[in-house]
Amino acid sequence: MTIAVPPASLATPNGTTRPLVRIVIVGHVDHGKSTLVGRLLHETGSLPDGKLEMLKAVSARRGMPFEWSFLLDALQTERDQGITIDTTQISFRTGSRDIVLIDAPGHAEFLRNMITGASQADGAVLIIDALEGVRDQTRRHGYLLHLLGVKQVAVVVNKMDRVDFSEARFREISDEISAHLIELGVTPAAVIPISARDGDGVAERTANIAWYDGPTVVEALDALIPARPLDQLALRLPVQAIYKFDDRRIVAGRIESGQLQTGDEIVIMPAGKIARIKSVESWPVTPVSGPQGAGRSVGITLDRELFIERGDVIAHVGAAPRDTRRLRARIFWLHDQPLLPGASILLRLGTRETRATVVAIEKAVDPGDLESVAAKAIARNHVGEIDIALAQPVAADPASDNPRTGRLVIEVGGRIAGGGLVLSVDAGARAIPVDIVPVESALRPDERLARYRHGGAVVWLTGLPGSGKSTLALALERRLFSRGGSPILLDGDTLRAGLNADLGFSAEDRAENIRRLAEIATHLARNGHIAIVAAVSPALEDRAAARRIAAELFREIHVATPAEVCESRDPKGHYAKARAGALKGFTGIGNDYQPPVGNELTIDTSTGSVAEATDAIELMLAKTGVLFDELVDLAANI
């Protein structure tokens, strides 16, 4: 059975453009949302021919009186339960608008569906039963509209026929809900008395509500303004991916706010690297010139090769978001299990995904009764304020500065479990789990510098087995030690014999192996040593994680010896074993090694001596400020 198929709304009917507005109808269960939707479709002439008659016939066959809500209750399961399970979208027209109407379920059980629907809306209609008045779900939906950022809200007081169209009853409800919404920072655009079943107030001010002189529902919808893209705010381009389908290296993403064009000087956050936009790529015509505004999905190329990855945010220099490992957020929670302090969660902010820990729950409220619960947990369908520590830095804005990059989603078990607004961003704070107090070193950084004549660094040698990583690492260690430095070798295989003995070679274990190497190396580097890590580390993603941990201390060297040379060397006999099928998960045969991008140095050991390669590394370390010859007046710089 097809049902409620409205006439298709035209994008540009005969060349004219009508504003398209998405609205959501929310409110307590049984207060009449579906009835209002059915009525609106009828009043705006949006029902297919014969549909009304057909539904009346179906109702008669089922021995039920006809209800307007049948129009939407298209699913068998819904009719059985008598409640709307999910969001349904229907379009129709008012005088000057194309309206896409999202019907969202009122039943508390389905709050996740209400949020799914309401999050797409430009405006909302909050429906209240005149007999029952404001109920907990009414307040909850009001609160969620605020959290979802829906600012245009019209309130309808339905079933006025059941209270004999009493103006006094209407005023009572109107005052109560207006006060509630205004407290949340949402001013209702109108409060309208209606009877959805009989049509009063929907498209017409009937005699029954002669005392009311405000807009009808159709008029209120006609006055809604479509959400505008955020062109006026600072540029925020969260990176979705980097594509190399041809010789171009295209950074792809959607401009969430602001605008960009070729030649702009941009900064990639959270790393803070600077580049210029070389071109704005497109298809079928490319490149494109002129400014690109908010809402566009774009692709850009940069004037230099930098390490950049999904989750980074591109901004203009001087107007960048802050990088942080600590956030405060106001969230709604949809998961069956309450959110507790110390909980380990997955956080999504724009295109960035990171593990995180809930450090504290500062407030927990049932938005239904609005009583702040002192409880240290946020229950399902409740809201609260939390303090979150992130496993890696992210670029974020407070929601008050940027509604698009100031909101986050929380995932539990691979499923979205909540979301909310960023209240504040604590720049640069390193995530520190609850109840852990790190002890800082007794030595000052300049004391170590003066002794070693170098700063701390993580020198990361990556490449195929047999490429010469260990040989180079040993030579570098000797070279640095000879000049009075403090190098420390961290060999992947050596650590696997002890610290990492519990890890195998699955993708997860490899990632954990790299994480541990990076954490140790970073700890050493932060204490003035040069940690030399020699590890195949085949996955780009894992090395990116290492770079995030070590941040500005990271120096990545690709030991890019050709694969056939590596195999012919086979110092550990691994290639031979792998060829014989006796070594599973061996990187080198096949093409599971992902070469680095934006690394600080590339060395091919098949074309030069070990000493030459070591020279090259030393030079790179000097150029990037790790090594220095003269003892400058460091105190002046610290």
């Binding site: 059975m1 097809t2 198929v5 006439p7 298709a8 709304s9 994008a11 540009t12 009917p13 005969n14 453009t17 398209l20 021919d49 179906v58 699913l75 399970i85 999910d86 979208q89 379009s91 996740r112 949020i115 799914t116 999050s119 979705q240 991916a241 594509y243 389908f245 041809d246 792809a252 605008q259 000087e265 956050m269 790393a271 803070g272 690297k273 790529e281 298809w283 400014p291 505004g293 908010a294 999905s297 692709g299 930098l306 390490f307 203009h316 001087g318 909101r407 989603v409 691979g414 979205i416 979301g419 950084p445 700063g455 934006g598 600080e600 150029k623 990037t624 400020g625 220095f628 710089n637």
Partner: protein, 299 residues
């Protein structure tokens, strides 16, 4: 403890370093970016969805039914990935499409440089005999899809369904999890908001990704016209009839129409009250035939 910034010694390689909080250096005055119209906004959103799917799933395929919607979808994929569709286009063939559709497929698979995979549906005899005839015929496609999924191990299928086509499709998510049997549990769909998608199908299950869920039939035609996307001529009226929706030749009927070009189709859609899938027999056999198909994994 941050030892010290290396930037003041030697020449920094990559870290010229931004100074958040300082005013922006004087820069060239911006021209205002040109505004986006309705089709621009739809396109940008679809591209975003394509790129999210490609970033978050390991093995994608695009379901190419050869109809107007999936052709728009391929066009959008080429926009998203700068001309190259980086995953296979899968045609689950019932063997009963119109000859014009096969001709179209073979021509444009080549012209658009698609990695075309054609897989055939099992015979009708192997399909649930309790389904009404047309639905049973359509259910072959569900089975064909399951076979293709098992064969290639796709974890994401990109499908060109739209909310305005049919009421049960209106309830879809953009990223829609399917069970291990390919089934859709409409009662237990995860929340989806702010373009954050649930993209972690449990092992053995897959996701359906719907990049044009938010488009309408009229949007598809207006965009097809604007971008000059090729279409199968069956959509245009001949002798007072045209196809609004193309399925298997034996269970799809034309509608009465004189619209012989896209502009006329748009004008027709502006006033019609006939549903798009009116010509699709399977939708009308029983009240819940379509929903039963979808719960079982139909598109």
């Amino acid at each position: 403890m941050n030892l010290l910034s290396n930037d003041h010694r030697g020449q920094p390689l990559h870290r010229e370093g931004s100074v958040p909080g300082l005013p922006a250096p004087p820069r060239q005055e911006f021209l205002a970016a040109p505004g986006m119209d309705h089709l621009d906004a739809l396109e940008a959103q679809s591209i975003y969805i394509f790129r999210e799917g490609f970033a978050r799933l390991k093995k994608l395929a695009l379901l190419w039914s050869l109809g107007k919607d999936s052709n728009v979808m391929i066009w959008l994929a080429r926009k998203a990935f700068f001309g190259k569709v980086p995953f296979p286009a899968l045609h689950v063939d019932t063997g009963k499409k119109f000859p014009e559709m096969y001709a179209f497929r073979d021509q444009y698979a080549k012209e658009w440089d698609l990695d075309l995979k054609v897989d055939y549906c099992p015979p009708l005899e192997s399909i649930d005999p309790t389904l009404p005839p047309a639905a049973r015929s359509a259910a072959r496609k569900t089975e064909g899809l399951k076979l293709a999924l098992a064969k290639y191990g796709f974890d994401g299928l990109i499908a060109g369904i739209r909310r305005d086509e049919e009421a049960t499709r209106a309830k879809e998510r953009v990223f829609s999890p399917r069970g291990t049997e390919g089934g859709w549990d409409v009662r237990d769909q995860p929340p989806e908001f702010w373009d954050q998608f649930n993209a972690s199908p449990p092992p053995g299950a897959h996701l359906r990704i719907h990049p044009i869920l938010h488009w309408t039939e009229a949007d598809i035609w207006a965009y097809t016209k604007r971008e000059n996307i090729p279409i199968i001529p069956l959509y245009l009226a001949q002798n007072g009839k045209r196809y609004r929706s193309l399925g298997d030749a034996d269970i799809t009927n034309p509608v009465a129409s004189n619209a012989s070009n896209i502009d006329e189709i748009l004008t027709e859609l502006d006033s019609t009250k006939v549903p798009e899938r009116a010509g699709r027999a399977l939708d009308h056999e029983t009240e819940d035939a379509f929903e039963r198909l979808r719960v079982a994994g139909y598109l």
